[in-house]
């Protein structure tokens, strides 16, 4: 086994080691801690890009890493295919942006920020790589435990209250996860995902109900994480309360639930699943549509920008879930593009919100609500005085970033949000047409409209309406991550052809799960050092 095949486990080991190392140093050594954390995230980005290129170049696309050198159905395996490589790169890109942003200010406002951050990355990477259901639970708990710490980061009454709800809901969801996993184990006698895919078609008819009950309970646990209506009521509050860099990395947290549902629904209940094929896909389709509607109304109703972003996370999750429910290759590939584009945009927007709102006093949002409720006639008395005031440089940059975010969230040309929506709509209309498809298409367009209206309103109130414009004090290292994420969206647009080709290949391999199963089950034991010597 050459060293490159060991690279597969690096995305888990590296943040774990970095997180443990960070615990050794005193909280006052900010520079050292920041350097270790930054070095870890940069290395992670390089490794994940290498893995992505490796997966994209090989003809045998799935590489398998047997932990402890036990063959597949008995030991735990890590599996790298196009989808997991894509998620790994997305995670490390968001991590880099959030970390650089936090270095300006946030990482000093409480203990152990960097350790929690690294452990969150470890949990995320592990969840994307693992090929075993129970191991997935363990990595989920790692990332959730780190996220409990991070959502409370910076303290304050609002965060503690939101964190309390967040933790209680996720602990209950973890119990559902365990019930689902153990039901599936009780019926099939295995926890390896590839082995499950082989055994599910052979499940006896009288046991099928238990299996489907297990899959449903498991699915509910992931849908709570993904924020499907009506399970996602907690999400906007928790994401709004979190500190800006934390919210930026949380943008991928709801996508973990979506990732697992995409992976498991196509692997376990895909084309080869026999009597249970396509199980739950109509629930995903209609649940996803309800989520889009709920999220779009929430976006329109939001006064504060933080809540707007939180509800947009729901819109994005709903779009993805409904697209997974359509269960067609081209829709899945459009959904994957949408996932990357919307995650980057939401992350950039969470960072930007904190910068823009820094200038306003905390009571401003409350005031905005009362002003709209009681009519804002007090504004009319004040005549505009300084008509020809030059826009300060900071505000111009912030405004430009805001326009970029608005275009991405609403899905308007020329940025990648438009390509994502276009890919989804063409794939849907080109496929088998039915009433649900048209409703979904209408919901997609309406959600874009509601995002546009809400963003325009928020932009006018923030950038144009203030009479005496206080310019927020923004450091270069804070605006650079926002720009970095938005430029990446621009790259996604310009390189749209090659990105879509990758997404098409990913969707194609997801919809033919037998390749994945064969790759995992045919993984041979690696000869140990002693066996190699004796030969």
């Amino acid at each position: 086994m050459e060293w490159t095949s060991h690279l597969l486990i690096a995305p888990i080991v590296l943040p774990l080691v970095a997180g443990a190392l960070l615990l050794m140093f005193d909280e006052r050594r900010h520079t050292l801690k920041a350097a270790i954390s930054l070095a870890s995230v940069l290395t992670l980005l390089v490794i994940t890009v290498v893995l992505l290129r490796f997966v994209d170049s090989e003809t045998a696309m799935t590489s398998v890493y047997p932990l402890g050198n036990w063959p597949a159905p008995f030991g735990i395996v890590l599996v790298l295919d196009r989808l997991s490589a894509l998620m790994l790169v997305l995670t490390s890109v968001l991590a880099l942006a959030a970390l650089i942003f936090s270095l300006a200010r946030w990482h000093k406002s409480g203990p152990h920020f960097h350790t929690l951050f690294q452990l969150l990355l470890m949990g995320l990477n592990g969840a994307f790589l693992t090929g075993d259901l129970f191991n997935l639970f363990v990595f989920f708990e790692v990332l959730l435990a780190a996220s409990y710490g991070l959502v409370l980061y910076g303290s304050g009454q609002l965060r503690v209250k939101a964190g309390l709800h967040y933790i209680a809901i996720n602990l209950a969801a973890s119990s559902l996860f365990l019930i689902g996993v153990s039901l599936i184990y009780g019926v099939t006698g295995t926890l390896n995902m590839a082995d499950l895919a082989l055994r599910i078609p052979a499940v006896a008819a009288e046991d099928r109900m238990l299996l489907e009950a297990g899959a449903t309970v498991l699915g509910i646990a992931f849908l709570v994480k993904a924020g499907m209506w009506p399970l996602g009521f907690w999400l906007p509050t928790a994401y709004t309360a979190a500190a800006a860099p934390v919210a930026a990395i949380f943008a991928i947290l709801s996508k973990v639930g979506v990732y697992v549902i995409l992976r498991l629904s196509l692997l376990l209940f895909g084309v080869d699943a026999g009597a249970t094929a396509g199980f739950g896909s109509s629930w995903l389709l209609f649940g996803g549509m309800a989520t889009i509607a709920f999220g779009a109304i929430g976006v329109l109703a939001s006064q504060a920008m933080g809540r707007l972003a939180g509800f947009y996370v729901l819109v994005s999750s709903g779009t993805l879930l409904a697209a997974i429910g359509m269960a067609s290759v081209s829709v899945t590939s459009g959904a994957l593009y949408h996932m990357v584009s919307s995650t980057l945009a939401i992350s950039a927007f969470f960072l930007l919100i904190e910068l823009v709102e820094r200038a306003q006093d905390p009571a401003a949002n409350v005031l905005a609500v009362t002003m709209e409720a009681y009519g804002d006639d007090m504004d009319e008395e004040e005549a505009p005085e300084e008509v020809g005031l030059a826009i300060p440089g900071t505000l111009a940059v912030l405004g430009l970033c805001f326009v970029g975010c608005a275009l991405l969230l609403a899905g308007l040309p020329p940025l990648s949000g438009f390509i994502a929506k276009f890919a989804l709509l063409t794939a849907m209309i080109g496929g088998n047409e039915n009433a649900a498809m048209w409703v979904l298409a209408a919901l997609l367009l309406l959600s874009g409209l509601s995002a546009m209206i809400a963003m325009t309103r928020a932009g006018i109130r923030t950038f144009w309406a203030p009479i005496e414009g206080t310019v927020p004090r923004v450091r270069v290292s804070e605006i650079v991550p926002v720009g970095f994420l938005l430029v990446l969206c621009l790259v996604l647009t310009v390189q749209g052809g090659s990105v879509m080709r990758y997404m098409d290949a990913t969707a194609q391999s997801l919809h033919t799960p037998m390749n994945y199963v064969r790759a995992v089950m045919s993984t041979a034991q690696v000869p140990g050092p002693k066996a190699a010597e004796s030969q």
Binding site: F134, L164, A168, A172, L178, S182, Y185, G186
Partner: protein, 114 residues
């Protein structure tokens, strides 16, 4: 008889846990979550088929009949779930105390209903 006892035990634990989870005081919520965790652990254990007087660890002989042994996988799963549940409950307890300290109320919304 054993199956009935176990099923009733799990049902009572999870049922009381869900009821407590829906109560408005943080202490009730944490006890509810703990009870649900106990019920779930028993449930995982029972999913490996209940056996009496069967060992989980293979003896070091050559002729091993797997049918003579209890399924060790659910036992390993329960052990992991207990450890993780313990840690997360401890963490929730800390948040509960912080919330009590910051808001001066043990209501889950941080303020007393009027």
């Amino acid at each position: 008889m054993m199956e009935l006892t176990l099923a009733l035990g799990i049902g009572v634990l999870v049922g009381s846990g869900v009821w407590l989870l829906l109560r408005p005081r943080t202490y009730q919520v944490i006890i509810g979550l703990s009870l649900i965790a106990y019920g779930v652990n028993l449930f995982i254990f029972s999913m490996g088929r209940l056996r009496m007087n069967a060992a989980a660890v293979l003896s070091s002989g050559t002729n091993v009949n797997p049918a003579d042994y209890a399924d060790p996988v659910p036992q390993a799963l329960v052990l992991t779930a207990i450890v993780i549940g313990f840690a997360t409950t401890a963490l929730f307890l800390v948040v509960l105390l912080v919330s009590r300290g910051l808001t001066g109320s043990d209501h889950v919304d941080g303020r007393e209903p009027h």
